[in-house]
Amino acid sequence: MTDLQNLSRLKEKPFVTNCYMLENEMFDAEQSSYFDIQMSLELVCLYKNTKYNFKQMYFFVNQDQLLKRELFNWKEKYFVVENVTQIKLAKQNELITKWLCNNGIYHYRTFLRMYCLDCMDYSDIDFSIIQNPNGLDFENIKENLESNFDIYAERIPSVEELRNLNKSIYIIKIENEIAALLISEQKGRTEEIRYWLVGQNYRDKGFGGLLMKYFLNKNRQTKRYTLWVDRINKNAINKYESFGFVKDRIVNSIYINKNIMVDKIISILVDTRPEFDFNDETLGFMDAGYLDSFDIVTIVADLEEAFDVKISGALILPENFQSLESIVNMVQNSKNAS
């Protein structure tokens, strides 16, 4: 059977998916997948390459599987799962989250969609400071994006993709340094803001607001503006609201597999105590003196920020910081409790 036939057979029964690609975007003329594929009677997974060491995973799973405890062995070591759904489908989303969690794929962040149908008139503002990028700007933009946005959650574009987006990238340069940028992408009759960023040293100078006004002014004919924003980024949400954006009823839940989660936890531990090797699973981190109760405090704050979770005070016990496994479990227990 071809890859497409396998998928078609699965689709004969009620199924759940996070994939909205068309068949011709997934399969070639011989009905073979363009992507790495993993198939069984209950599950078809497509793993799409990213330019990083992880893949984007799309799944088609028999609906009955969501309620079963059957565990799957995933083909890839590092992958991310995105699931765009309506808020009103909360019950089904909960089932999917639980099923993924049982299979070692953990909720990471949730992005809200915001939209704006009508914006103010900004035509009398002097925008002469704003320009489109050229030459080495694209490399610098990519570096800026990588250091300010999350590679697992934000789909950072390559330099090549940035060059293609050239006309919808707006930047403010100060002494040859990119001080602020706004990147958008046209999707049908909608203009989607992909990134909006003001460099650390250039905040409170009005650059961000100027870029947004320029963007809205330049695209006055657009019927609809949209964007995605991390639900915990209250500052950004407030700023978007000040420009007339309102929250939509659509969310993007992003999940990471256990290996990514463990790597992120290790980087948090190393940041706290750079002198120790936290890859050594034979040690109890607390017993070995790698961590003390005050390290725990900073680690909890970092975990909460990294994984969009509030860790219950009652779980902040030494035994929950003894190993990578116990930290993963604590984060998951906190997620489940919230």
Binding site: G289, D292, S293, D295, T298, G313, I316, L317
Partner: protein, 354 residues
């Protein structure tokens, strides 16, 4: 233990803070940790400035200064006082009781009862409980509750676990009999098996201070302290607070038939900002309802954080408005306690410098 009282009111609260202010950032170099780590910890825990007494200043100095201030400003009539209750863990001497020293300093008459209570983080609630019982005798109409600690003198300057937390100060609270039928519910528990989770090992009769007990020793985390210094098992204390306090609170809600929205404020002891935020999250109330700004501004003054919390966050508003408050203390002992009370318009509610 659940105790119920009636016909009592607080008529004034005064906090007395040493004018000497220390900044956490200026002390980071004392600790065996990187600046980056210490700054990050400071931000999360709410380490900022704190008030510390000068060499030679004692608990009786702070308390008598506060009392004399109230006498001079005609906010307290010396002859109306029936009893003085002092809660402290830093007495001037082993004997006599520091409350007697204070009574002598401010010239209280011979009919005034003076009592010392050794309590810390729950000292305000324990002191109030004692004041209520004295008022219940029928012979006493006004009790002065003094809460004071100067524990900064017992903290190693090289102990990042405790040094940045601890502040000094005193408070004077006036409690009187009243015709108000509003019920006061006090919940209190103690667990002596955790007595050594927070302690000063040397300096008492069991282990008197010597040259040896003054020697600094490095712990596994890199802090240097001596047996003469305060030492805290941070993880044990944290977990105790995060489990026992919500338990007691939910039990109180159930017993009194109220819920979390009943209170305008939760004025709790303030060990640090992180612990208070975690408690507020557990109870699911906004951070603003459980103020956590004392530690970062004045330091954790043990006995005084609850009255100082009220002075700082209500201040003059307490003179014109009434508030339903939940007072909470938890820590050394181990002791934990809650009081459901209505703060009626006070005669004074302020902070002064010593």
């Amino acid at each position: 233990m659940h105790l119920n009282f009636k016909n009592k009111k607080i008529t004034g609260i005064l906090s007395v803070l040493p004018a000497n202010e220390i900044n956490y950032v200026d002390e980071i170099g004392n600790y065996n940790f990187s600046e980056k780590q210490s700054l990050k910890l400071g931000k999360i825990m709410g380490y900022g400035t704190r008030r510390i007494v000068n060499e030679g200043t004692t608990v009786s100095d702070l308390c008598s200064y506060g009392l004399n201030y109230l006498f001079e400003k005609n906010l307290l009539d010396k002859d109306s006082i029936g009893a003085v209750v002092l809660c402290t863990q830093s007495p001037d001497q082993f004997l006599p009781a520091t409350s007697n020293i204070i009574a002598g300093k401010v010239n209280l008459n011979e009919d005034v009862i003076s009592l010392d209570i050794n309590q810390g983080c729950a000292g305000y609630e324990v002191g109030l409980m004692q004041a209520f019982m004295l008022l219940n005798t029928g012979s006493i109409n006004k009790v002065v509750l003094l809460n004071a600690d100067i524990l900064s003198k017992k903290i190693s300057i090289k102990d990042r676990n405790s040094r940045p937390l601890v502040g000094d100060g005193a408070s004077v609270t006036i409690i009187e009999n009243s015709n108000d039928n509003e019920e006061i519910d006090l919940f209190i528990k103690m667990d002596g098996t955790g007595a050594f989770s927070l302690q000063i090992p040397a300096g008492g009769f069991k282990l008197p201070s010597t040259e040896q007990t003054a020697e600094l020793v490095e712990d596994v985390a890199g802090n240097l302290r001596a047996l003469d210094h305060l030492v805290m098992k941070g993880d044990e204390v944290f977990n105790f607070v995060q489990t026992k306090v919500p338990e007691m609170l939910f039990d109180m809600f159930e017993k009194l038939g109220i819920d979390k929205t009943y209170f305008d404020y939760y004025f709790f002891h303030q060990p640090n900002k992180f612990m208070l935020e975690k408690l507020a999250e557990k109870i699911n109330i906004p951070y603003e309802k459980m103020p956590n700004n004392i530690c970062e501004k004045y330091g954790n003054g043990s006995n005084i954080t609850v009255p100082l919390n009220i002075c700082e966050n209500l201040g003059a508003k307490a003179l014109t408005e009434s508030y339903r408050v939940c007072l909470g203390g938890f820590g050394v002992g181990l002791t934990w306690s809650l009081i459901k009370w209505k703060l009626e318009k006070l005669d004074f509610c302020k902070i002064i410098n010593y």
